[in-house]
Amino acid sequence: MREAGSKRRPWIAAGFALALSAAGAQAGPESADPIRLTLHDWTGQLVTTRIMGEVLKRAGYNVEYVPADYLAQFAGLKTGDLHVAMEIWETTGRQAMDEAVATGLVENLGETGMLAIEEWWYPLYLKEQCPGLPDWRALANCAPLFATPETAPRGRYLGGPVTWGGHDEERVEALGLDFEVVHAGTDAALFAEIESAVQRKAPIIAWVYAPHWAPIRYAGEWVQFPPYEPACYEDPAWGVNPALAYDCGKPRGPIWKVAWAGLGKKWPGARAAIQAFRVTNEEMGEMIAQVDLEGRSVEAVVADWLSRNEARWRSWIGQ
């Protein structure tokens, strides 16, 4: 996975002189050390990171990809072992990100342009069995449809890992839904259960997020809860249940780019390029589908994108 080892350093200076003259780039690399971008285990993140990495390479930077765990990586970002993380989701990584930024060792480089959606989701074939969906009020009557022997007579809602938060227990109580929240331990387990239910056309309602391959692969819909407002989470009086908070849907939020605080000092040009990086949900969905559903390689999909959007990424690196 790593494309350039740190052992290359002694030869690097010469290499860069060469690369510079060849490319004739205006924004040259300020340091020849490799910029380390983290790779996680979901396709969308691999795509965004590869796009950024390839663009930086074309600007003459030495780039290294390091596989890392989504949350464990903050330890590395703080110490400067890792430099850039391309996708920190408002919805799942906010707490870790805020904690890291508060130390002053990590900085937030702004939005990626993608908007994270997280919500209760169901496959389309359930619409006949539970009329009234996607409105959340329909769930009140269909809870037994989603029941399993362990949860009966209450419905079973498959939530994300405990660490994702999400306040689903509170939501169920505040909206008077007759559901039991079961937490999947990991993302993989969560989608394994959805896949299994879809194969059997069995009832399931679960926490799904986008951009992700699942809402592309399976036909389905988000449940429409009363839309989120900050007041809903903070003020019990807000919304349909005057006595409890969380009587609304989940917040939707941006996906952030995060970097080691020393990035700007060492590679100011790279920092500016990363700050300028923007892609949309639609583009991303398309690329994820190409990789996960059509089986193309991430590298090929990224190369396609780069050749189709040359003007865009050139502006990021000031060319």
Partner: protein, 670 residues
């Protein structure tokens, strides 16, 4: 059958005064579980926050101090650990360059490497020759076949990344382990200090110390390797101390008579004499290192572990299985090579004169040949990298198989699962969680006292009190429930299989492959299909735990049964025993210590799976450790991890004491 023998062994004790006491205790426990909720005050189930030992905060604070401020003179502590990391980084970079990346000529993009990595053909060739040195043809087939699998299924580049980490971690683990083991052998006081430390190292879940490792040693393959060494080394220490102690006293006396200095006597006499047992330790280090591949990939080691995780996140079960099997294949090939290398030790010394492959010139020529294929790879790409067009994948097949089972048999599986959950899992869980901590402490202390005297009672009390004082009692009970039931099921399945394997060599050859696979295949690979068929939850977690913890129950039982001294068997035959009688009255009682050791190991392995079960949504100590990792909470992770270690040590001490008790009862030990 085993239970039959056990009951016989206990004999009359069932109705003694002690039995009455235990019956009364069971009655009281049952009473607790029947109490309506909230009859007893809440602090009897979990200490309120203000009463707890603030160990987590202390640990987090001291970790922060260690990373940010601690210094010895002008040298910051962190710089020291970083220097240590660089010490490991250097050989790793070398091996990686050799196997994966090639040596860089210049940093400019597009400029080819100065020297290409060793080609796949050359690696297979060299490994095959290494195996050929043993003169065992089936080993050559196994090793080359394994490596060919890696190339054929497109796992080669990742496998080499993993292999280079292993090639660094194993020698370090073996060397450090041996040195510590020798120190323990020489000084009893050092050993007394070391043993509890080893226990903790082996039982604290890796996730718990991953964070401190990351802070101190940086993010990347080096931290992963250091974590691997830490995890894989303890058996080497234990085995070394044991092996040296087992060297017959005649040999030791001989060394003394020959006038050896203590250094000479150690390295020239004791270590060579202990070699066969030392190899068992090396084997353990290799196996455990490969167990860490998945976790290591989470902190930047890449390789096969990363491929497994990526494939499974995409629910590509087939691809995940192929990458997982690549780990297994690598483990088995390395293990068998290591075993042969060890047993070769004595033989080659006699044969080396005529062994063609032992001549340095032959090796030089082979090395040159390998280099040639590597260099030729520039002209003929298929030599450098196995061509993609010739790669195969059985991926889709596996995905379809799971889908087919899912569509056709889900209802039957669901019925079975519901019956088990409602009638077994749920009642046991309710029963355990209803026990207040003072009562559990009393029970543990009494059990400890009966089995091992005052010392054991005190140890067990201290360990359990730690769990209560840190506020993890309830989570610990959930863990005990998960692990206890799984270990019970695993032994119930494993011991009969083990007995059958002990009696039939042919069966054992088949089962051994299955057992090896189960132990080295990352559990994540089968966790996903299990979740598809049984949903997220404790039931799925238990299946994964049972599958993993089954191995020692089978292995040790088979070993014990097989080891029955032939004279005793002949005596049995002569006395006219039937096969069943021989098994029941001779083989089983003699194998009992081995079986109990297997049970002990089954419990330990089941506990080590706690962190994995957190990945399918259990709410136990494993989950706490996992949450701590995701929130970068060093203190919480370590404390919850130590609680797991406490449970493990309590179980270990009690089972060992019970085993000793039984042995005395059977008259196996004077």
């Amino acid at each position: 059958m085993a239970s039959l023998a056990l009951r016989e062994a206990h004999g009359g004790r069932l109705f003694g005064p002690a039995a009455v006491g235990w019956l009364a205790a069971a009655g009281l426990s049952l009473l607790f579980s029947l109490l309506p909720p909230r009859t007893l005050p809440a602090f009897l189930y979990e200490l309120p926050r203000d009463w707890r030992l603030p160990l987590e905060t202390w640990l987090s604070a001291s970790m922060a101090w260690l990373v940010e401020e601690a210094a010895i003179g002008p040298l910051r502590f962190r710089d020291l650990t970083r220097a240590l990391a660089a010490f490991v980084e250097w050989p790793l970079a070398l091996v990686r360059a050799l196997l994966v990346e090639g040596f860089a000529g210049s940093g400019s993009p597009g400029a080819g490497p100065f020297a290409a990595p060793v080609s796949w053909l050359a690696v297979i060739l060299l490994a095959g020759l290494l195996a050929a040195r043993s003169g065992d043809r089936s080993l050559v087939l196994l090793v080359t076949g394994s490596l060919a699998y890696l190339a054929l299924f497109g796992q080669w580049p990742s496998a080499m990344v993993t292999l280079s980490s292993i090639l660094i971690a194993v020698p370090f683990g073996v060397a450090i382990g041996m040195l510590l083991g020798i120190a323990a052998f020489r000084s009893a006081r050092f050993e007394r200090l070391l043993v509890p430390l080893l226990d903790v190292m082996q039982t604290v879940p890796v996730f718990a110390y991953l964070l401190p490792m990351l802070f101190l040693f940086g993010f990347g393959p080096v931290s992963a390797i250091l974590a691997t060494i830490l995890y894989a080394m303890p058996p080497m220490v234990r085995v070394t101390a044991l092996a040296l102690r087992q060297v017959p006293s005649e040999i030791r006396d001989f060394a003394a008579m020959a006038g050896c200095t203590s250094r000479q006597s150690l390295w020239r006499v004791l270590v060579p004499a202990a070699r066969p047992t030392l190899v068992v330790g090396v084997n353990q280090v290799i196996m455990l290192s490969l167990n860490m591949v998945i976790i290591a990939s989470m902190i930047g080691a890449g390789g096969l572990g990363y491929d497994v995780l990526t494939a499974l996140r995409r629910l590509d079960i087939g691809r995940g299985l192929e990458a997982g099997l690549a780990i297994t294949v690598l483990a088995i090939a390395l293990d068998r090579l290591g075993q042969k290398a060890a047993s070769r030790g004595e033989r080659t010394r006699q044969q080396s004169a005529d062994g063609l492959l032992d001549r340095p010139t032959v090796w030089l020529a082979l090395g040159l040949a390998a280099l040639a294929t590597t260099e030729l790879g520039r002209a003929f790409p298929f030599l450098a990298a196995y061509p993609e067009s010739l790669q195969v994948s059985t991926g889709p097949l596996w995905n379809e198989l799971v889908a087919w089972i899912n569509v056709h048999f889900f209802d039957q599986l669901e019925t079975l699962k519901s019956a088990l959950v409602l009638n077994l899992l749920a009642p046991v869980r309710r029963f355990l969680l209803a026990q207040p901590w003072p009562w559990v402490l009393v029970l543990l202390v009494v059990a400890g006292h009966r089995l091992g005297g005052r010392r054991l009672a005190l140890t067990v009390f201290a360990l359990a009190a730690f769990v209560v004082a840190t506020g993890y009692f309830e989570k610990a009970l959930v863990s005990v429930y998960l692990v206890g039931l799984s270990a019970l099921v695993a032994t119930a399945i494993g011991i009969p299989i083990g007995i059958a394997c002990g009696l039939s060599d042919r069966l054992w050859r088949v089962v051994e492959v299955v057992v090896d696979t189960l132990q080295t295949l990352p559990s994540f690979v089968y966790l996903i299909p299990v979740v598809m068929l049984f949903r997220v939850g404790e039931f799925s977690a238990m299946i994964a735990v049972v599958l993993y913890a089954l191995a020692p129950a089978i292995r040790y039982t088979a070993h014990g049964i097989r080891r029955t001294p032939p004279p005793l068997l002949e005596a049995g035959c002569a006395a006219g025993c039937t096969r069943v009688q021989i098994l029941r009255h001779i083989r089983l009682p003699l194998a009992l210590p081995d079986i109990l050791l297997g049970v002990n190991q089954t419990i330990m392995l089941a506990l080590s799976m706690l962190v994995i079960t957190a990945l399918v949504g259990t709410r136990d100590l494993g989950q706490e450790v996992y949450i701590a990792l995701t929130k970068a909470d060093v203190g919480k992770g370590l404390v919850a991890g130590l609680c797991v270690a406490c449970i493990a040590m309590i179980a270990d001490r009690l089972v060992s004491a019970a085993a000793a008790h039984t042995r005395r009862r059977l008259g196996l030990v004077p």
